[in-house]
């Protein structure tokens, strides 16, 4: 099968991406430190870390937070290389757009040169600002990614509920999530079905048509499914406000962790 096939790339590639990025809950199910914390406590402590990283201007404090994040990753059984790849992936985007122009900002020149009569200089303050910016971004991104990969998505959704986000909103998010998965499966099967009917070579033009058709039929199916799912909910007693089961438990370990985080937060804040 040719690997530059249009359908292959757009459908199968997209699905693999979806499954890998959104549905990879494999890390969240490993038994590491962060995975063992109560989800609510974990979210609060991560919010505290991120706030700290946003408000501190000190390079050592930021480096400390970043190192802490990597350390937490390590004790949560996350491979360093995998984690670095996932997080540094975002950096070029930010640094090119924001950090790079900043190094030319006003201040004492460190290095100057002239191009076509215009004078450029990299300034001390500019450079420091850019470095702080990059470390801050990488620290925040790392914390978000770390939270994300060590927590099951539905636990995150349930915590939203505890933080008083309306149930219907969370229900919809949860169902979207579930049905994206279902539809991913449907498309994959449809693709296989088409392939088995037309043989191995699906031409580019034909391929585009099929993708369009797929999206249209998907919409139809989602409308039909919604109705059916609604009936299934009614049949089991749903009356507009879904009640959820949560068995979150805060243990001594969680309290200790939260205490340590708050202490650290105060120390960093006072410096």
């Amino acid at each position: 099968m040719k690997s530059n096939n249009f359908i292959e790339r757009s459908i199968v590639g997209g699905l693999t991406f979806l499954k890998d990025s959104i549905f990879a809950e494999e890390v969240a199910q490993r038994g590491g430190f962060l995975q063992s914390l109560d989800v609510r406590v974990k979210i609060i402590s991560f919010l505290l870390f991120i706030l700290q990283a946003l408000f501190t201007g000190s390079i050592p404090a930021l480096l400390f937070l970043y190192a802490l994040c990597l350390f937490l990753g390590l004790i949560s059984r996350i491979e360093l290389v995998f984690f670095l790849k996932r997080t540094w992936f975002f950096i070029p985007l930010f640094s090119l757009g924001i950090a790079f122009p900043a190094i030319f900002g006003p201040g004492e020149p460190l290095l100057s040169w002239q191009i076509l009569g215009a004078k450029f200089s990299i300034t001390h303050q500019g450079l420091q600002g850019a470095v702080v910016f990059v470390i801050r971004v990488i620290t925040c991104v790392s914390f978000v990614v770390l939270l994300n990969i060590t927590t099951r998505h539905f636990d995150l959704l349930k915590v939203l509920r505890i933080f008083k986000i309306p149930a219907i909103f969370i229900m919809i998010l949860g169902m979207c999530y579930r049905y994206i998965y279902l539809f991913a499966g449907i498309i994959q099967n449809t693709y296989l079905a088409i392939k088995s009917r037309v043989g191995r070579g699906v031409q580019y033009q034909q391929g585009q048509g099929m993708v369009a058709w797929n999206i249209a039929s998907l919409w139809d199916r989602s409308v039909g499914l919604n109705e059916e799912v609604y009936k299934a909910m009614l049949s089991r007693g749903y009356q507009g406000e879904a009640l959820a089961w949560n068995d979150f438990k805060i243990r001594t370990k969680d309290w200790l962790w939260l205490f340590a985080v708050i202490l650290l937060w105060i120390i960093l804040f006072l410096n």
Binding site: L157, R178, G185, K231, R236, G237, A242
Partner: protein, 277 residues
């Protein structure tokens, strides 16, 4: 055990009189159905694809409502308004459980466990009691290791078991099942049938739609055959219906097998019921 609150009227649970239903007003799905279902009965609905079996069951469960004709539950007429009454609705939903033909639509929660406890939570059962029922069902259906998985990632048979668990946990007096054994392996089918028979022996009413003639005899006191006209063409004891090859053939319920033995071909009609039991 009394479902309807009073014992008059021979314990009729469902009574349909000349019920018509069509989808979107133009695709007829039921044309003139008359049925009475008594408490504790085992009833099965058989018929070819598209003869309105699923539609009929959904009408019984108050999920859709007849265009014409009357459906009553315990002598009380069912219509859209009555379900707006939260109390009635909760009572009805705790008495009547429905297992959908397509398990994918029945399972909409993030994990199997949440899906199973969805019903009783909505119906306001206490957590301790839910937990107890959950443990019992896990043991009977042998689904312990599925609990923390996403329903999406299960095989068809596993999904079906979870769907069955999610309805049985409500402990309804009346169980409506739409093709409960389609796509299941013989042993799982056996377990599910045994489960249904046990439920029926404890007094529950079982209403099943199926194409699977193997299971019909065991799960029915009365069989209704739905025909292409989307109405009941015949009803009667399982034995009588299953021994009427012309009727079964007419309704796509048996097929003619042609076997090839070396150079001889011989053809005979084949009622699937003869195989196991």
């Amino acid at each position: 055990m009394v479902i309807c609150g009073n014992t008059i009227m021979d314990n009729i649970i469902f009574e349909l009189k000349d019920v018509y239903f069509s989808y979107l007003g133009k695709f007829p799905a039921l044309c003139g159905i008359d049925i009475r279902i008594n408490q504790g009965q085992k009833v099965s609905i058989i018929g070819a694809n598209g003869t309105g079996k699923s539609t009929f069951l959904q009408i019984l469960d108050g999920l859709i409502f007849a265009d014409r004709g009357v459906l009553s539950f315990c002598g009380q007429q069912l219509n859209e308004e009555i379900f707006n009454d939260a109390k009635f609705s909760r009572e009805f939903r705790s008495k009547v459980g429905f297992i959908f033909q397509n398990s994918d639509v029945q399972l909409f929660c993030p994990t199997v466990k949440e899906d199973i406890v969805f019903g009783p939570l909505q119906l306001g059962l206490a957590k301790g009691q839910i937990q107890k029922r959950l443990e019992k069902l896990i043991a009977t259906l042998n689904i312990e290791e599925l609990l923390d998985r996403s329903p999406q990632q299960l095989s068809i048979g596993e999904k079906r078991k979870v769907a069955i668990a999610s309805t049985l946990i409500i402990d309804p007096q009346i169980l409506i099942l739409d093709e409960p054994t389609a796509g299941l392996d013989p042993l799982t089918t056996r377990n599910i049938i045994d489960l249904l028979i046990a439920e029926n022996n404890s007094g529950k009413t079982i209403i099943t739609a199926t194409h699977d003639l193997h299971i019909v005899e065991e799960i029915s006191d009365i069989v209704y055959v739905f025909g292409r006209g989307k109405s009941i063409v015949k009803s009667g004891l399982a034995n009588n219906i299953l021994n009427d090859p012309a009727l079964l053939k007419e309704n796509n319920l048996v097929h003619i097998h042609s076997h090839q033995h070396q150079d001889k071909v011989h053809v005979h009609p084949h009622v699937h019921l003869e195989h196991h039991v």
